[in-house]
Point group: C2
Chain length 371, copies 2
């Protein structure tokens, strides 16, 4: 192993920086200047990477997913609006760069930057950064450094900050779960649902996983059980007397996680134990959640929402680091597998088509751009 | 002022006890042995007051209201089931005594009883005690002593432990309210609603009060404003653009209190500030609460239920004493007026008719039995 003393590290950094800042790197980015149908408003935009300053760092993006929320954001249908800004001094239109999640590598750091160094892998510090681009220059506070690891893939790192973190927070922040306690969730084969299954398994928490009924239900059941699901039931079974008895026998869940809404989401709430907590983080059925007063008043169930972007914006990097370190540690130890994914080619038309396509089904997995 | 020394107090207590325990007091009670329509299942039952023991006290009831929940309880439609028990040694049927709320006065105390003395005014320590009776003998722990006061009426004391306490807890336990903060509530002219208005006023909290539209709306508006309501609006106005603007101008409420349910309860939730808390304690419209996912996820509103009986059963007498002392102090100082009420004659048929009638309208006020 080679050790550099402080002076030689500074010199090395200057060499790297001199290389990058004078190499006239061109950024390719998928941007938009107004909201609308993704394939119509998104455009390919190439511009010189803004110069390094003493307070900024330069990063090269490695992989960025296309998440459902990214699509809604381009459509203007998402409450988190991206910043529209001049991406370089030659632009005369303010653009937003698409995407909110991704992993990048630091290629240069300004003199005054601390706690982040060339070679570090980073994720975005906040949602709304714009990750569908090849390079970026920004203040060090825009990025959060990941622990060094070889055994975790770029796909896992690029898709870490939304789905696994959502699962982590929902399991931690609403009720104290002890080993052996039950959680019930619908949309259990979604990306968050699979994260919930794996985290709960790693922490000794049992899961009741509700999925839509389908012809190949046994294959799906099998797959989720392989991930660590304790029980898998279909939404058809959710309201039956048998299911009610079964769940009472297993142990009524203290926590319910809902990304579906509508009638089956109400049915799911009825299975919670008294004083249970019920967290909504999605609405795939596009129907409201209907709550009989008795669930609120007499069973004392509380209903909350969870939105990862808000959590990230209202908590500091230290709190986020604890979560990310633990998730990456679980990934290293094989408790958290790479999600199913398909590569999106980093060219204008394929990416635009992928964004238009939006939410893909379970079978083909998450769409990820590799740069 | 006359002071008794300990010895003379003991002698005095013995004289009082000797008088009461040998006076063969007869208890008249309205009881039921199975659930059903109140006038059909309720019956008048007279029996000797059980003898005093070293650990018990004897009380004489002064006033007991007929609350909507009491009616549901007789019908068997209430989650809190009363104890069915042998009321005296000559009975061969187990009865429940109707009623859950009331004020009584201590007429005798056992030798080993501490902290409660003859002449004390008491309320029931827990819900489900059975207050539609003239006398009772029970362990001291069945009763909670009220602070001595002349200026608070028996009606106020008899109706203290459900409605004013519900208002108190809902204003205290779900979000920290500072002076000038807003609360929005529907059913604002209900007994709890009026308690909320008066407590909020006393504590410097502003209220937006939603009531059903009606021909004499101005009279009602006036009446609620006299009690301390900051604003009164009708449910018709709740969803309008003007109301939305007005409420934004006044200040979006941090807390919503719902005893109605249905569509207008959803409309009310939309007026809360981000991170607001919404508490359901009734369902007068008998329709579920329908929640758009965006209110949960993006606006981060949490939805809870509140049930006073559960609070009382899960908190100790000391915690309850703090609340009751504060409420009685507000009553003494004129911040909390006697609710509208009508007297129910303490005879079998009038009481049964009053229970059948159940929830009376706002105009005629709460039905209270005076013994």
């Amino acid at each position: 192993m080679v050790f550099f003393n402080t002076k030689s590290t500074i010199i090395l950094n200057r060499i790297i920086r001199a290389y990058t800042t004078t190499s006239n790197i061109t950024v390719d980015a998928l941007v938009y200047s107004n909201y609308g149908k993704p394939s119509e408003v998104l455009k390919w935009h190439s511009y010189p990477l803004p110069a390094l300053t003493p307070e900024t760092v330069q990063v090269k993006f490695l992989a960025s997913p296309i998440n459902p929320a990214d699509v809604n954001q381009v459509q203007g249908a998402y409450p988190l609006k991206p910043p529209f800004q001049l991406l370089n001094e030659k632009d005369d239109i303010k653009y937003a760069v698409g995407g909110n999640e991704g992993v990048a590598q630091v290629i240069a750091t300004g003199d005054k930057v601390k706690g982040i160094k060339v070679g570090d892998q980073v994720i975005m510090a906040k949602a709304g950064y714009g990750t569908w681009r090849t390079y970026a220059t920004g203040p060090a506070s825009d990025f959060q450094v990941l622990p060094m690891t070889d055994s975790v893939s770029n796909i896992q790192l690029a898709t870490l900050s939304v789905n696994p973190c959502t699962a982590y927070r929902m399991l931690k922040d609403f009720v104290k779960l002890n080993k052996g306690d039950y959680v019930i969730q619908n949309g259990a084969n979604s990306a968050v649902g699979q994260s919930v299954i794996q985290l709960a398994k790693a922490w000794g928490i049992k899961t009741i996983n509700v999925v839509r009924n389908r012809p190949d239900i046994d294959a799906l059941r099998n797959e989720l059980e392989q991930l660590g699901a304790t029980h898998v039931i279909t939404d058809d079974e959710l309201g039956s007397f048998e299911t009610k008895s079964l769940i009472k026998e297993w142990g009524q869940p203290k926590l319910g996680l809902n990304c579906v809404g509508g009638k089956s989401a109400t049915e799911m709430a009825r299975h919670l134990s008294a004083n249970g907590q019920y967290v909504t983080y999605g609405a795939m059925a596009r129907a409201p959640l209907s709550l009989p007063a008795s669930l609120l008043i007499f069973k004392n169930i509380s209903f909350h929402g969870f939105w990862m972007s808000r959590w990230t914006d209202t908590h500091n990097m230290e709190e986020r680091k604890i979560m990310i370190d633990e998730l990456i540690d679980l990934m290293k130890r094989g408790h958290f597998v790479e999600p199913k994914w398909t590569q999106v080619e980093w060219k204008e038309e394929p990416v635009k088509a992928a964004v238009d396509q939006g939410i893909q089904g379970y079978g083909s997995g998450k769409q990820v751009i590799l740069f």
